[in-house]
Symmetry: C2
Subunit: 249 residues, 2 copies
């Protein structure tokens, strides 16, 4: 069972993912928000790669029970219903709804991985549950860190390293390559205080400058939402029948 | 003075480099080979982005005093004069000659950085000299690690970290971002035995499998070639007048 980490969606093309089992991480904040959305009872999340597509999709789909959500360069988008702060995704606002999500990095990274056999959504919030499920899958794993505008970002890499560390605790003989070992080293260095790392990293500083420090608190919480969202047929759903025989997800 | 590291040429487009001061690293083996070429008296090195272009260029340019050199996926290319092993670049073979160099990652990374104000060529072989020169430049620095087929590679990242470490020893108040700090951490972990790291990394293992273990010995040697090659007008030349007033290179 090999585990590879891809440090930027730009590093591979769409077809790279064909038939692979992929995990997408965008800790600040897309994948953390997706977990919060499902924890608050969202029906599904539709990640989109452009604001135009989000607008068009929201008009026609899902019988009007949709919310346009997300951000562009940390800011809420005009005409959208919600931004990209986990705190906004409360049960009264999004329970039973379809969330159309556009974000600067994360939603695009998920859409890019569309040719995978399976795409999972991970953040610190579901770290242990995701590690358990991936080991259960018993197949080679590609972990894609969404990064920031196509380049390396520390918090996603640390989260990927933390995920692999948890996987290793469950299965010691994983085959790790150079980038995965490097991510483990970075997690070893910075992972003892995730909240501190997140407050001090470039993206964390940017969020603080935009008055969004409370988002960091949520996004750096480990294992508070033990759910497994997965992307299939253009939508992210919640995996609820994990132990069903012949489960293909 | 900011120092940024780009972990793959795929992470930015050509125009990103406009007016920047860039350092390209491809430890195994392109930038190490370029240093060896100049140490053995090469007149200039012409990095090219495709084998076709290398073929065409070699027919017309430089009055017949050219050698076609490089590799594709570690292997020597049919019709080429030399491969990509530093040991091949001896004075009797290449002294006074123009080297046209195509390699899988490094030569392409150099060509991609063409819109930079200045592009320098670095490896472990010229680490201290390059650090001194960059501090002397006193401008923001972009360090691009060529990677392997567009993705992260450990040895280039460690070399970038080692270069920044040496720069910090000369100027303690460098502004470092997340990726640069991460590279310093990786150098701290793996940099105490460069030769061991290079023998064990993915690319090192591939070279050993191809009978090229002796290349690793050369490419992991620190500061044995204190030269500064720079890329200008499509050619890599040797910087010889470093202390000239108003030096623009």
């Amino acid at each position: 069972m090999k585990v590879n980490i891809i440090l930027s969606p730009n590093n591979v093309d769409d077809l790279y993912y064909t038939a692979k089992t992929t995990v997408v991480i965008d800790v600040l904040r897309a994948t953390s928000v997706i977990l919060k959305a499902f924890d608050s009872g969202a029906k599904e999340v539709v990640p989109v790669g452009s604001i135009d597509f989000a607008m068009k999709f929201s008009v026609n789909a899902h019988g009007g029970q949709t919310l346009l959500c997300g951000e562009r360069n940390t800011q809420m988008i005009e005409g959208f219903d919600l931004g990209n702060s986990p705190a906004e995704y409360t049960e009264d606002k999004i329970g039973g709804k379809t969330i159309i999500l556009f974000t600067t990095n994360g939603s695009k990274a998920i859409v890019k991985a569309k040719y995978s056999k399976r795409v999972y959504i991970a953040s610190f919030n579901n770290l242990s549950k995701m590690a358990e499920h991936l080991i259960h899958c018993d197949t080679d794993i590609e972990i894609i860190t969404s990064g920031a505008h196509g380049v390396f970002c520390l918090e996603d890499t640390i989260c990927a390293g933390a995920l692999v560390k948890k996987m290793k605790e469950l299965k010691s003989d994983l085959e790790l390559n150079d980038v995965t070992n490097a991510s483990l080293v970075l997690n070893e260095k910075f992972g003892h205080d995730i909240n501190k790392m997140m407050r001090e990293c470039e993206h964390g500083v940017l969020l603080k400058e935009n008055g969004l420090e409370s988002d960091i608190e949520f996004c750096s919480t480990i294992d508070n939402i033990p759910l497994i969202p997965y992307f299939i047929g253009g939508e992210i759903k919640l995996l609820v029948e994990e132990n069903k025989p012949n489960n293909e997800i």
